[in-house]
């Protein structure tokens, strides 16, 4: 292997001053929710480490995760790819094709056995001997298993890899299966969302490169720093929920005033994600801010929890609540206190659901 370029060297070569580099480290620390004292740790890591090899596989998916990844503003996707990691295989971006592409997989195993990160976008279908997703004439699941058996750790990008997502919605015709149910002997970090927020994706990578470990995970294997709060808990429209001020229909008076979207189906109360505080596309906006309720896209099986336009109390998962969305909404509109009570119910049930899920899939 030749000389390995560190991230710091790469930035200097790119005309970035040391001062700017340190500023970047502070911003990264802040972006990860770490104190300013961690800026030095990040700087040290980026100054001294060669780029970590990453193999990025695509199963059944729509590539929204990759598209989201290249939207990252800090750090920029170009800097991640050129200077922080060595993206040795990614059939979306790599120049080679055919056997020249597949050869790289074996080269990676030979050079970095047990030391590369396996990034999985999408999932393997298991029906029809795995041949609903063919790569190089063989079932994708074979390639996934082969690479997983030699990797250091797995990142499950997005809801496909984490939970199954849209192709696993009922009746899941291809038996699309999330990564942790196929690979059970390697640590897996789940980064759900359809897609995940760009800076969550680069934040997870930066954390792993900096600290040489996964960030702290919750019981379901998601990094707590991004998934420990519900969108509803951090929502800037929360005061309207508490005050019983709701959008009744799209583009009504309440919609123009930015009222709460609970009654038009917002899944914020049951959705663990960082949309409400980090927002999307450089912190510009997020679904609720644009006027549409949260779809709940980072939650397991969010496709099968009823319509996106029925209020959360109407869902199967909160079946204990008898009332329809309209009945709840009618009461809510008049009484802030009851609104809070309904919210608490939804939250408790959401917690119960988490508890029922059992342990995380990582070691």
């Amino acid at each position: 292997m030749g000389i390995q370029e560190t991230f710091y060297e790469a930035m200097r070569e790119h005309g970035i001053t040391r001062r700017s580099f340190l500023k970047f480290c502070s911003l990264t620390a802040a972006g990860l929710g770490l104190g300013p004292e961690f800026a030095g740790t990040i700087a040290h890591a980026l100054e001294t480490k060669p780029r970590t090899p990453v193999v990025w596989l695509h199963g059944l998916e729509c590539t929204c995760c990759s598209e989201s990844f290249i939207r990252s503003g800090h750090p920029l996707a170009a800097d991640v790819i050129l200077s922080m990691i060595s993206l040795d295989y990614d059939d979306l971006l790599m120049a080679a094709a055919g056997y020249q592409a597949e050869e790289i997989l074996e080269q990676t195993i030979a050079k970095y056995d047990g030391n590369f990160i396996l990034a999985c976008e999408g999932n393997p279908p298991l029906n029809e001997d795995g041949m609903y997703c063919i790569q190089g004439g063989k079932p994708y699941v074979e390639k996934l298993r082969r690479m997983a058996s030699h990797c250091k750790a797995i990142i499950a990008w997005g809801s496909c890899a984490s939970w199954g997502c849209v192709q696993a919605a009922k009746p899941n015709p291809t038996r699309a299966t999330p990564i942790h149910k196929v690979i059970t002997d390697k640590p897996v970090i789940k980064v759900p969302g359809c897609p995940p927020i760009a800076e969550v994706m680069t934040g997870v990578i930066t954390y792993m490169l900096t600290f040489d470990r996964f960030p702290e995970l919750d019981r379901q294997g998601r990094p707590k720093m991004f998934y420990s709060a519900r969108n509803h808990d951090k929502c800037y429209r929360r005061p309207h929920f508490d005050a019983g001020q709701f959008v009744e229909r799209f583009d009504d008076e309440g919609a123009r005033k930015g009222y709460c979207l609970y009654k038009v189906g917002c899944k914020g109360p049951t959705t663990h994600n960082a949309c409400a505080n980090m927002e999307w596309n450089g912190g510009l906006s997020w679904p609720v801010k644009s006027g549409h309720g949260c779809l709940g896209c980072s939650e397991d099986n969010f496709w099968d929890r009823g319509s996106f336009y029925s209020a959360v109390t109407d869902l199967n998962v909160v079946g204990q609540v008898e009332s329809t969305a309209d009945k709840i909404g009618g009461v809510l509109a008049g009484a802030a206190a009851i609104g809070v009570a309904a919210h608490a119910t939804a939250s408790v049930i959401s917690h119960l659901k988490d508890d029922n899920k059992g342990g995380s899939s990582h070691d």
Binding site: M1, G2, I3, E5, A10, P50, R51, P53, H58, L60, E61, T63, C64, E67, S68, I70, R71, G73, A78, S86, D88, D91, L92, M94, A95, A96, A97, G98, Q100, A101, M131, Y132, I134, Q135, G136, G137, K138, V166, A169, K170, P173, T174, C194, P195, R249, F250, D251, R256, K257, G258, Y259, W280, N281, G282, L284, P287, S290, G291, H292, L295
Partner: protein, 594 residues
Amino acid sequence: MTETVTANGFKLDTGGQRVVVDPICRIEGHLRIEVNVDDDNVIRNAVSTGNMWRGLEVILKGRDPRDAWAFTERICGVCTGVHALASVRAVEDALGIQIPQNANHIRNLMMLAQYTQDHLVHFYHLHALDWVDVVSALKADPKATSALQQSISSWPKSSPGYFRDTQARLKRFVESGQLGPFSNAYWGSPAYKLPPEANLMAVTHYLEALDFQREIVKIHTIFGGRNPHPNWVVGGMPCSFSLNENGAITMEWLNLVSSIIDRSIDFVDQVYIPDLKAIASFYKEWTYGGGLSSKNLLSYGGFPKLANDWSQENMLMPGGAILNGDLSQVHEVDVRDPEQIQEFVAHSWYKYPDENQGLHPWDGITVPDFVLGPDAKGTKTDIKQLDENAKYSFIKAPRWRGNAMEVGPLARYVVAYASGNEEIKDQVDGLLHDLGLPLTAIFSTLGRTAARGLECSWAAHNMRYVFDNMMANLKAGDTATANMDKWEPITWPGDVKGVGHVEAPRGSLGHWVHIKDAKIENYQAVVPTTWNASPRDPAGNIGAYEAALLGTPMANAEQPLEILRTVHSFDPCLACSTHVMAPDGKELVTVKVR
């Protein structure tokens, strides 16, 4: 003798050496190409195979039609939003919902932003490396690169120091021995024709475009809350204007949209278009890849100026069909006519009761049938070579009046040109004049790539046109964004069908929906890559990819650079093309055409 002539007039020869390329990288999804090359390494037979299946149409059955856009949006995250738009249009068509003018403007703006971002990313990040030799850029003189750039564009980032920095970064990257996504590629192949300076300029813009594309999509973030996968709603748009309140889209966000439009126009016209011309000027001799483009082309037309009017006169991008290369006649396309658009499965991994017949999407049947033909090599789970005389792809074969058609930017541009659209005619004639090429030169791989670039510029400029119209509408006092009169299922008819179509970045997209008792009874999508990557049909017509690869000489049959060039010029999207399916051989409900 192994030579045959297809129903649509292409000569095939299955002798010689068989070359298999799987995976085709730098595309969305999983695609396999097999070709036969003769003793001179010229491609004489081509086989295009969709390698994946997801089954979204079956998953949609029984669901609330207002939710369908969110499911279908997940067909593709690269051309995000196009399926969502086709879906809400299909449902609105079925339920008889008229959308407000502002919703139409916003949808047009979002789709034009999608064209701009998607075409830009395709050119630099998925296609450029077929023409640009990254390693050769190391040999470039930064001063000469600067002079080259300044001679073709007024883009301010053009100093020798700027190119020197990029080159130094690239040098460190290569010297590290960790080549990342540039590993094991075809650098140094004689098929690459650019001088080192043009290579350095293009590599520099690869990085710049990767940075800039983040800005374009913010238009989606403002109106749809995020990108990828912004939000939509049946009846209009979920966002509201808040010109007298402080709760929705205010003047500040409108100003941001306007600023993004200006910067997009600048970037496309000062970086993308000059690069395209510069690169094309070194490949003028590479005239291959025309395929179906000089024969049969299809575009539904798109971007209605006024809401709810689907006549071609109301379209910013006119549609129609060209047959047999006769540009004097643009045929009208009716997506409702059961005789016009039909899908065949004789060579697809699906079953029909009568495989000589095609079915209109409202009448669609999807029964999976994954079997390899008798002449296939390998095993079911380790395919060495496919048998194209049998079934060989998860993609169906859609046909228009029985004809294989090419769709996409080149198809749109030829249809618009033939329709006499002045704006597009000026663009095409201008580019051909600058390159000193005749009109027939556009029927090629490079023509397809050039049409996409011109269309990117067209889209950026038309964002300005649509935005100005939207502002005029707001000024006139109309601030509505959604029509909720038929939101509640109780207002819906019991049994209805609808169709929604969109000219997506990759070509003509249609969704056909049947709604019964407020639930989705059947849902079918026929997407751009289904048209272009289609396998053969029972009549023996070959599809656009297969046709375009024929006759192309390869510099080295071991290095599929020329195959990548032509296939990439279509911008394949396999997740889009191959989602149709049914579970375990069960038939979908057959829908009678109304």
